[in-house]
């Protein structure tokens, strides 16, 4: 039975996924051991059920992020916060000090105060998801089993963690493998 693997991309730059693709030949081993059932790199619309392992890139920034995260937690055995945005909030969370619990301030700052032309807060209800009051790391919203820090985590670090997980071990990263940034 192959492991049902998912990767998701919340509020982040997709750099962690790029690093994931840098796994090179390990991707072949991975393909033998796991089915990629959901990911930005595969064309599946809805998060499936009974997922064994999910790597989550990005911080929780908007209502869509939160909704899918809740679904992911309900349908997945093991979650991994994948990269600094998921682990710490990182760059996306740098908006928080501009207005904790005040999204209007943040939008005003980004789209009006610092706009070069057409200063206006964009409004597209139902199309652009509502921002959450502030950006949070994944584990503050749902329970997360393991953490894979790095911005992005180097491919070797991703491999170390995933290989241990596929081998059924409790993954252990230490020393520089835990370095933020």
């Amino acid at each position: 039975m192959k492991v049902r693997l998912a990767t998701v991309w919340l509020g982040g730059c997709s750099g962690c996924h790029m690093s994931f693709l840098d796994l090179d030949e390990f991707l072949i081993d991975l393909a033998n051991a796991a089915d990629l059932v959901y990911s930005p790199v595969v064309d599946v619309k809805d998060y499936p059920e009974n997922v064994d392992l999910c790597l989550i890139e990005g911080a929780v920034c908007n209502e869509d992020n939160l909704e899918i995260l809740h679904k992911i937690r309900a349908h997945t055995k093991v979650l991994v916060s994948f990269g600094d945005c998921a682990v710490t909030g990182n760059v996306p969370a740098m908006r928080n000090p501009f207005g904790m619990d005040n999204v209007e301030n943040v939008l005003q700052c980004a789209y009006v105060d610092h706009a070069q032309n057409n200063p206006a807060v964009p409004k597209a209800d139902g199309i652009v998801p509502q921002l959450l009051a502030n950006v949070r790391p994944v584990h503050e919203m749902v329970f997360v089993e393991y953490f894979l820090p790095g911005c992005p985590p180097p491919a070797a670090r991703i491999k170390a963690l995933v290989a241990q997980l596929l081998a059924g071990a409790v993954p252990k990263l230490e020393g520089e493998q835990l370095k933020f940034g």
Partner: protein, 536 residues
């Protein structure tokens, strides 16, 4: 000044006394209800009713029963009485009552357990003498203990007497005073200091304020004896800026003592010199911690430093320094006058003497009491305090302020001594005793204290500075019904860490109110927790 001169002052003062003494409490509590006007009116009435020759209207310090204030007491040929809730317009009928007239003002009962169960050492003169007249203090035997120490005892004998008494620090931690004095005395150094810690910061505590306002010379005399015992010639009395009345009375007291040669150079014509300067705090709870207080005396930010070295070895400006609390110093002259053995006969095996408590909160009889160590908490709360008002029941008694804990009503039979209170997860503390009734939400109380510690953290060490913020946030989350069992576990883990890793007493004890309420009232926390659908 010589002993015969001191005795002459006492004698002259005693002989000039009038027959009837009307004592008007002029401590901060009663002053807030126009005690000054009451005194003025009483004086005017005494004159108007032709009693000027027989009646002395005296300003006195705290009588203790603050919740019934303003208080006016009287002494007439061995008889005593007390009026409560006095208003300025009551002056006429009070003076009239002295000659048997009718008086509708509420009379206090001196046999009430609130008074009857007390034992006065520290507060012996409180509410009796005029704190702004040194003659009053001398007339009741003041400064004879200092004279005795300087002329009859070697410094080591003074330390010995204090050691024998079993007196322990009244600031909260209960360190044996004799041991501390001995260490300072033995520490090498030409310059030594004595510091009196009057930075009574515990919310809900006003023992030291009351002692300083009612009997400032008692504290000064204790400091002078201590200075002689340890070999210091300079003292600092650190008082909170929130106590302006205490500060002004101390200033007066120091001036008077200097004029009579009881402070300053060559006290009692001996080679012993001792000067006291007042240092006024500026609103920082952490300055109650001795190393922070020393930094503040030196004019710096009041941040603590690691101990060792202890102040006894390296204190103010690196010199050996004796730091004791106001109440500790206030016990000294009695110990010298009556002997360490007499003192050791009061209290329990390990906690000697008396302790002053500020009995406040949801209790019928609010005020200041001095009781022998070892008295069961129940006697204090139910008999002296009269239990909870408005027909409610007592839920808990908080002792030790933000460093202490909440003792549940089931444990009211606990004797009040250092060890028993510690065993219950609280501490003796400086003497604040805040009673809570069954309407009190214990999680809110824990949050109240944590907010206090968070705002009073000096910010020097990380566990206290950042840990109190996180603990407060978690408590807030719990009271807002947004927390899960995982949050509570985090809170408990933080309590343990902050307690064990913080630099000073503030951080090390900041988790105590949470730990003790979790121990006895965990159900109240559990009821606020929410399910955790996205948990493990």
């Amino acid at each position: 000044m010589q002993l015969d001169e001191l005795k002459a002052i006492a004698e002259k003062h005693r002989s000039s006394r009038k027959k009837i003494i009307v004592r008007t409490c002029m401590s901060a509590g009663c002053m807030s209800s126009q005690a000054d006007i009451i005194k003025k009116n009483l004086e005017a009435e005494a004159k108007a009713q032709g009693l000027e020759a027989d009646v002395e209207v005296r300003r006195v310090g705290c009588m203790g029963f603050c919740g019934q204030g303003p208080l006016v007491g009287w002494d007439n040929s061995g008889e005593h009485g007390l009026w409560e809730f006095v208003k300025p317009e009551d002056a006429a009928s009070i003076i009239a009552a002295l000659k048997g007239g009718e008086c509708k003002v509420q009379r206090g009962d001196p046999k009430h357990p609130f008074f009857a169960k007390q034992m006065h050492i520290v507060r012996a003169n409180g509410g009796i003498i005029d704190p702004e007249r040194i003659e009053d203090y001398i007339a009741i035997g003041g400064y004879t203990a200092l004279h005795h120490s300087l002329t009859e005892l070697q410094p080591a004998q003074v330390v010995e007497e204090v050691t024998k008494s079993g007196l322990r620090g009244r600031g909260g931690a209960g360190f044996p005073s004799g041991l501390k004095w001995g260490t300072v005395a033995k520490s090498p150094g030409a310059k030594k200091y004595v510091v009196c810690n009057g930075d009574e910061g515990d919310p809900g505590a006003f023992m030291d304020r009351s002692v300083l306002e009612s009997d400032p010379h008692l504290v000064l005399e204790g400091m002078a004896i201590a200075a002689y015992a340890v070999g210091a010639d300079q003292g600092y009395l650190y008082v909170r800026a929130e106590y302006p009345l205490a500060i002004s009375r101390l200033q007066i007291a120091i001036k008077q003592a200097k004029q009579l040669g009881l402070l300053g150079a060559g006290i009692f014509e001996s080679p012993f010199n001792f000067n006291v300067d007042i240092r006024i705090g500026a609103g920082a709870f952490v300055c109650g911690e001795e190393t922070a207080l020393m930094a503040s005396v030196e004019g710096k930010r009041g941040t603590p430093r690691p101990r060792p070295p202890f102040p006894a070895e390296s204190g103010l400006w690196g010199c050996p320094t004796l730091i004791n609390n106001v109440e500790t110093f206030a016990n000294i002259s009695a110990i010298i006058n009556k002997g360490g053995e007499w003192y050791a006969g009061i209290g329990t095996e390990k906690s000697k003497g008396t302790k002053v408590f500020a009995l406040t909160g949801k209790i019928k009889n609010n005020g200041l009491i001095e009781v022998p160590m070892g008295i069961p908490l129940r006697q204090i709360i139910m008999e002296m305090g009269g239990g909870a008002p408005d027909g409610r029941s007592i839920k808990s008694v908080q002792t030790g302020g933000p460093s202490g804990g909440c003792i549940p009503a089931d444990y009211l039979d606990t004797p009040v001594d250092y060890e028993s209170l510690t065993k219950l997860g609280s501490i003796m503390g400086s003497g604040g005793m805040v009673v809570m009734d069954d309407t009190t939400n214990m999680v809110e109380i824990a949050k109240f204290y944590m907010e206090f510690c968070m705002e009073e953290s000096c910010g020097k060490c990380i566990p206290c500075r950042a840990g109190t913020v996180q603990m407060f946030n978690l408590l807030e989350k719990i009271t807002q019904r947004k927390a899960t069992a995982r949050d509570l576990a985090k809170l408990e883990e933080l309590c343990d860490m902050v307690k064990n890793t913080s630099l000073c007493g503030l951080g090390q004890t900041a988790p105590n109110p949470v730990i003790s309420t979790l121990k006895f009232f965990r159900k109240e926390y559990a009821e606020l927790l929410q399910p955790d659908p996205f948990g493990p």
